[in-house]
């Protein structure tokens, strides 16, 4: 039984990695390579592997105005930090509660000993 469940877990993990790695492998096969010896001729491969001069960018869709992205970035940072601080605060509270309970229990027992 133990071996069967282990095999099942391994199969799930391997299957998940096959899917992810296949996608990554396909992305890695795309022409956008970080090759250092890339000659200038590779500029023809597309916008993806050279520094793109701003005027050559494709037309920006208006659904992503820069102000929304900038505010989104700053807002995200604040959100992440607040969530993290809250999470640590909550865990601290739980541990301090545990310490109080345990100390009280020990203090109770000590006079009896």
């Amino acid at each position: 039984m133990k071996r069967a469940s282990r095999v099942a877990v391994m199969s799930v993990v391997v299957a998940a990695w096959v899917v992810c790695a296949g996608a990554a492998g396909r992305a890695a096969q795309a022409p956008s390579t970080p090759g250092a010896a890339a000659p200038a001729g590779q500029a023809a491969q597309g916008a993806s592997d050279q520094f793109v001069p701003v005027k050559a960018l494709p037309a920006q869709p208006e659904e992503w105005p820069a102000s929304r992205l900038v505010l989104g970035a700053y807002g995200f940072i604040w959100a992440v930090l607040i969530v993290y601080v809250w999470s640590v605060w909550r865990r601290l509270g739980k541990v301090e509660e545990e310490i109080r309970t345990l100390s009280a229990r020990l203090a109770e027992k000590a006079p009896r000993a």
Binding site: S48, L69, V70, L92
Partner: protein, 225 residues
Amino acid sequence: MKRLYLLGVAAAIVMFAVAPFWIMGAPDIDVPNATPDVLLSYKIFFYHVPSAMVMFVSAFVCGIASAMHLFRKKPGADRLAAAAGELVVVFGLIVLVTGPLWARKAWGVWWQWDARLTSTLLMWMIFLAYLLVRRFGGPGADRLSAAMAVFGMANVPFVYVSVNIWRTIHPTTQVVPSLSPGMRGPFWFCVLAFVLLFSLLLAMRARLERLRADVEHLYLLADEE
């Protein structure tokens, strides 16, 4: 000590409240034919780069503390490593999200599999795995994760230098030393704010670990009775 901590928190709040105004007042970068959209999106730089710097520092703290735990068995080292490991993931998340939000305007794409972005993502995943091992590794997980952190720390110079070695779409490390005077002020102010924030978070998280160790100790005492 607690008073110093509260002072630090107050200072951090003030710095983060003031920073956006200074950032908005900073001069625009010098890119030819840049639209107002692209120039506005460059303001993300002032939070993106300090977050990345703090992520590297945190990775070093985690790696060095892990090495001390592995080789010298220093008692507080493992706790510090646990705290720093979490902060690598937090600040790494900030870097990996603010970057694409900026890139959407500056490069026209959300993501590129270039050397800098890929290696940063991998480093983030190494420390994510660090947290997973700490949580689910069972007995001996502290040493397992310490080994992960040592490898993760070895990654940091590679991530930093990757952008200089390979021709990538990501700006090189020459950008920061060659900032225009008007941008230097807000930038280093933000760096200071983030470093202060990092120190405060590290202290708080390390305290949580220390209290957890105290709880373990108390449980042992309670069992002995």
